[in-house]
Symmetry: D2
C-alpha cells in the first residue's frame, strides 16, 4: 500500500522531515526515453520556494535537487528516479520550548496521538516542506505531458474573499506568463494588487489568510480516467486533499452547479470546424462519468489560512494543562499558504494525469 506513495503506474514515494538531513522522492514507473535533467526540477522548485518574494515566508530554502538514479546519458531508463534535496538553514532548537504544546490548527497533536512519537522540529513530516518533493516529481510528469501537448497552469483564484475576474484563456502561453509574472500567481492585476495589500496587512498583524487555487489543463485527450473508482475526478480530489491546509475541491461549476437546473448545467455537445467534438459550455470541468471529455480540465482547491500565526493563542499542553501558545521567535511565517500551493497543485495535477494516461493504454485489446 504505502501511505507515503501516490499513483498507480506512475508512482511517487516521498520521504523526509522538515528538519531532518534531507527530503526526497522516488518516482517509479516513469516511461523510458524522456530527456530529463536537474535543471528541469530547479525551474519548478524555484516557484515553490518560500522567499521567492515578500509575499511568502522569508526562509531562503535554496533547494538544490540532485538526481541519484534512473537517468542515463540524459534520458530516463524506466528504472526508479531518486531525487534528493538536502535540508539547510535549519535551527531546530527554537522548537524545543513548544514541543509539548498542542499547536492550534496544526498536526502535532494528531501525529503524537497516532504514533506515540513526533519529530516536532519544524513540523517534521507534517511540514509543507514535503511538497517540494511533489514539485520535483511533477517536473517529470509535466515534461511527459508536454510531449503529448497537455499543458497545465495553476493560479490564485481567491484570497481572503478577493476573487479574481473570470478570464477566457485564449493563448495558453501568454496566460501562463501572466500568472508567473504576478508576485502572488494571480493573472488579474487588479485582484493581485488587493491580495498583495491584504497579505502585507497579515504580515503586520502576524495573522494569515486562506485562499483558492484554480487549475486549468489544456489538451487533455478524451478517455482519461478509469471508472468506477479510478475516475479522474476521484484521483484529482485525492491528490489535492493530500496537500497541507487544503480543505475542499470542486470541478467545473462545482458547488455552484448544485444550485443550477439540469437544463442549465448540461453542456451541449457540438462539433467545431476541425471536426472535434466539444461542448458549448464547460460546467462539467472537462469530465463526464469520471472520464475526460476533451474539454479543458478545470478545478479549484480551497486552502485554509495558515495555522502558524504570530498571534498569541490559548491552548493546552500534552499534560492537559492550559497554556499560551506563541510561535518561536524567528520561526517562519507564511501569511497565505495558498500562494505557495500554486506550483504544488500543478505538480499533483500533472502526476494524476500521467498516471491516467499510462493506464489508459491498457484499455483496449
Amino acid at each position: 500500500m504505502g501511505s507515503n506513495s501516490f499513483g498507480n503506474i506512475f508512482r511517487i514515494t516521498t520521504w523526509g522531515e522538515s528538519h531532518g538531513k534531507a527530503i526526497g522522492v522516488v518516482i517509479d514507473g516513469c516511461p523510458a526515453g524522456l530527456e530529463f535533467c536537474k535543471e528541469d526540477i530547479q525551474i519548478e522548485l524555484a516557484l515553490r520556494q518560500p522567499g521567492r518574494n515578500s509575499y511568502t515566508s522569508p526562509r531562503c530554502e535554496k533547494d538544490q535537487a540532485d538526481i541519484l538514479s534512473g537517468v542515463f546519458e540524459g534520458k530516463t531508463t524506466g528504472t526508479p528516479i531518486s531525487i534528493i534535496i538536502f535540508n539547510h538553514d535549519v535551527d531546530s532548537s527554537k522548537y524545543e520550548p513548544i514541543k509539548d504544546l498542542l499547536r492550534p490548527g496544526h498536526a502535532n497533536f494528531t501525529y503524537l496521538q497516532k504514533y506515540g512519537i513526533f519529530d516536532y522540529r519544524g513540523g517534521g513530516r507534517a511540514s509543507a516542506r514535503e511538497t517540494a518533493c511533489r514539485v520535483a516529481a511533477g517536473a517529470i510528469a509535466k515534461k511527459i505531458l508536454l510531449h503529448y501537448k497537455i499543458q497545465l497552469v495553476a493560479y490564485v483564484k481567491e484570497v481572503a474573499g478577493i476573487i479574481m475576474e473570470q478570464m477566457e484563456i485564449e493563448d495558453f502561453i501568454s496566460f501562463k506568463k501572466q500568472v508567473l509574472a504576478s508576485p502572488v500567481f494571480c493573472p488579474d492585476e487588479q485582484a493581485a494588487k488587493k491580495i498583495m495589500k491584504t497579505i502585507e496587512e497579515m504580515k503586520e498583524e502576524g495573522d494569515s489568510v486562506g485562499g483558492v487555487v484554480e487549475l486549468y489543463v489544456q489538451g487533455v485527450p478524451i478517455g482519461l480516467g478509469d471508472p468506477i473508482y479510478e475516475k479522474l475526478e476521484a484521483n484529482l480530489a485525492k491528490a489535492m486533499l493530500t496537500l497541507p491546509a487544503s480543505k475542499g475541491i470542486e470541478f467545473g461549476a462545482g458547488f455552484m452547479g448544485s444550485k443550477m437546473k439540469g437544463s442549465e448545467h448540461n453542456d451541449a455537445f457540438t462539433v467545431d470546424e476541425q471536426g472535434n467534438v466539444l461542448t458549448k459550455t464547460n460546467h462539467a470541468g472537462g469530465l463526464l462519468g469520471g472520464i475526460s471529455n476533451g474539454m479543458p480540465l478545470l478545478l479549484k482547491v480551497a486552502f485554509k489560512p495558515t495555522s502558524s500565526i504570530k498571534k498569541n493563542q490559548q491552548t493546552i499542553d500534552i499534560h492537559k494543562e492550559k497554556q499560551e501558545f506563541n510561535m518561536p521567535e524567528g520561526s517562519r511565517h507564511d501569511p497565505c499558504v495558498a500562494l505557495r500551493a500554486v506550483p504544488v497543485v500543478e505538480a499533483m495535477g500533472a502526476i494524476v494525469l500521467v498516471d491516467a494516461l499510462l493506464l489508459h493504454r491498457t484499455t483496449r485489446l
Copy 2:
C-alpha cells in the same frame, strides 16, 4: 490495482451494469466475527431505492440482496463476502433509439470513446444503479463502526439554493430519526418543505436540480488516517468524487474557510470534564494533518443536477450530425440525484473509516 475496487484493507469490488443480469459487490478484508445477515443490507437498500416516495424516480427496484459467501452461522469468517442483487423491471428496448446520440451531461460519449464499445442500456456501468452495491457494502462497514461506537448520518443540506438551517446535533439518535422521517432526508422541516415544493416543480417541468449532502460522523477516535497520501480527508474526497454526479467536496469550514483569517479559523484546544481533549470550534471538520482529532467529522458533497431531463436538448450523434435529444418515453426521471445519494454518502464514509480503523492497528510496535 483494479479500477472497480476501493479501499486498502477493507476493500470492495463492485460489478454489473444497470440492465445486465445482476449487480454485485465483493467485500474483502472484513474482520472475522461480525454478526451479519441479509436484513442488515435490506434496511440500508430500502433508503437508497427510487420509488421510496414521490420525490425520487418512480422505478420500483425492490432490490433483494443475497449473501453468497463469507458468512457462516451468522458471522463473518474473514473470507470475501459476495453480495448479489439481481436486476428486474428492466426494459432495454426503449434505449435503442438514443444509443447513437451524445447524451448531454452523460457519460455515454466518454465511455464509448474510451472503450470503443458501450452497454448503453439504462446507462450501463455508468448508471447510478452501481451505488446499490456500495450501500450493501456500507451496511457491513456501518455495523463494524457501530461496534466501536462510531455513528454516521448523512442528510440533504441544500437543494437548488435552499439551504438548511445550521443545527446543533445534541442527541445523535433523535437527529438521525428526524433525517429519516423527512421524505427528502432533510432534518430542517422548513427547508424540507421548500425543497419538496421545488422538486415537485421540477417533475412538472421535466427538469432537475442539484444539491449538497452533508455527512456528520460522531465517535471517530483520534488517530485515523495515514499521512501523507492516505490522509483521511484524501480518501474521503476520493470516495465521494467516485459518486455519480458529484462535483465537489469540502471539510469543516471548507471553501468558506478560505475567506477566514488564521486567528479565526484555528480551533482552540481545550479539555472537557472527562479529561478528553477537544476543540472549542470545529472549522477543521475533525481532521488535522489528515488525521482524525476526535471531534465530529464533517464534510459536504456537491451534486450537479441530474443530467437526464425530460426537456428537448440539442446534441450531435456519433457521426457528428446535429440531432435533437429526448429521453425515451417511460424512462425514469430523478429530479434530484442528491436525494438518492444520501445513503450512498453514508456508505462510502463508513467504508473509508473502517479501512482507516483497520490500518491504524498497524501503526505502532
Copy 3:
C-alpha cells in the same frame, strides 16, 4: 490490497466456499473488444472437473458458469466481468463429526486459529474448489494471449517419482492434443500408463500421491516482466504458490541448475534464419533478469500428495485431546491433486502473462 485478488492491471478477485451457495470471480481490467462467451469458460472448466475420468475424485461437479456482467453483444466492454458458478451436489452434514478435529495436512487448524471461525463444510474457502474460478478467469486470459499468438500448455511431468521423458515440442497444437488425450494429462504414453496404475493403487489403498506439473509457453514476446519486484518469475512463483497443495516451483534448469557451472548453464545467444535473437539452450526457462527473452517459458510446480486420505490417522481435537481421524463416509477422494491442478497451472500462467503484457505497454514514452 485484497488478499483474495491477484494481478495488477488484469486483476481477478475470487470468492466463495466449497459448500456455500456459489463461488465466483470478478475480472477487472480486461481490455475491451475481446469476443468472449460462456462456452469459452465451459471448455476450460470441463478439464478441471473432478469426475472427468476415474483418475480424479468422482464428485460430478457439472459446473455451469454464468457471465453476469462486462460482456455486451458478445464482446468485453472494459467493465468488470463477473462469473458465477453455483454449488450443487453438496451434502455438508457428513463434515459435522470431524469439525473439531485437526485434519492432518489440512488448513482447518490454521484457519480456525487465524480467524476464530471456520466454515469447515467441504473445506470451506480452503477447498480446491476455489480454483474453478481461476480456470474461468484463465479462459479470458488465454483468449487474450491467443490474440497475440501466445499459447500455453501444462502437463503432468511426474507422479510419485514416475518421470515423463524429456520431449521436444515441435508442433504445439499436436503436443497439446496429446496432453489432452491422456487421462492423466501426460503426453508420454509409457509414463502415463505407469501413473494410471499407481493412481489406481492409491485409490484402492485409500492413500494419495504427489506430482509435478510443467508449464510450457510458446510465443512470449521479449520484454515481459518488470524489474525489480514485478519480475515475471516472481509473479509466476507467487501465482503458483497460491495453489492448494503446491510446495515448490522452478524455472528452466531450476534446482538442477544449481549443480551446474556457469560455463554450462549460460545460454549462448545466436540468430536464426529469420533474424530472431534466440539462445542455443534454454536453461534460463525463457527469463533473464526477470524479463522474458523470447524463448519458451518453462516452469515446474511441485504438488504434495492430497492431504485428505481414506486411511485412519492419529490427531488431536481443538480441545487438544488425542483423537483418530477418518474422512467422512462418502466424502470425495482425490488420489493425486497434481492432476487436477493441470488446467489451473495453465490458467494462472495465463493470468500472469496478460497482466505483464498490459503493464508492458506503459514502459516507454
Copy 4:
C-alpha cells in the same frame, strides 16, 4: 503499483544503479517506537559485502548506510525511513567495450529490448548491488521480528552438488554462530571445506557454480499469511524469486514431497508438555493452507551459477553479428552468487514476515 516496491503494509521501495551516484531504499509502514540506528544496518551489510573473504568477489564495497529520515531520538516515528548508500570504487569505463554485446545469462539484452535504453555500467539496475538495499531494510524487519521473538537464519545448503548434512537445530543462537563462523555460511564443517575447495577451483578456472540457500525461521506464531492470494508461501516465493540468479524455491519437503504418499507426508498433530499444538514431522515447512502453523518455517532457494565468468564465450552483438564475449579486465568475479545471497534471503524472509504480522492484526473484529 510500483514495480520497485515490495510488501503491502511494511513496504520497501529500492532505487539506484550499480555505478550511479548511490543506491537506496525507502521503508514505509514501519511501526513507530522501534529503537533503530545506523549500526543495526552496518552489521547486516557487512555480511553481504563482497570482499568479506576470499570466497566472494574481491571488490571492497565498504558500504556505509546513512539514515535520512523516519528515525527521531533513536526511535522510528511511523514516517518513511530513507536509507542511502553512496557508490564508491566504481570504474565504469571498462564496461564501455562490451556495451553492445549480448552477455550470456545476463539481463542486458532483455533490459535493452524492454526499455530501449540500458545503463550497462556494472550491470546497472540489474546488478546484485541492489540487494544491499534489501539487507538494509531487512535489518529493520529483523529487529521488529526479534521484538516478537521470531528469529531467522539462512545458510548454504548446497553448492555444486555438495550437500550439507541434515542438522537438527536445537539451540538457535549457537547454530547461527556456527553459520556466521563459516567463510561460506555453511554450518556443516565437512561440506563447508569441500565447498571452499570447489570455489577455489572455480576462481582458478574463471568459472562459477550454483547453489542452494536454506532459510529456517523459529518462533513464527500461528496465523500469519492471508488466503487466498496473500498466502505466506506465495509472498515468500515472490520475494525470493525477485533475487538475482534465483531459479527455484521449495517449502518443507518441496519437490521431494511430490514423490511421497499422503500417509507419509501428512504431519501428525500433537501437543507438547506446555500445551502447544505442534506436528510430529514438518514436511509442510510450517505452513498449512498458506498460513503459518507454529512449526519452524523452512524453505530452500536455488541459485544458478553466476553468469559473469572469466571464460571466453560465443555471443552476438546488438546488430546481430557474431562476437566473442570476455568480461572486462579487472571486473569483479563472484564464483558463487549463492554465498552472497545468504543475508539477502534472510532479509527478504524477514520483510515478508513483518508484513504478514502487521496485516494479521486486521483479521478479527
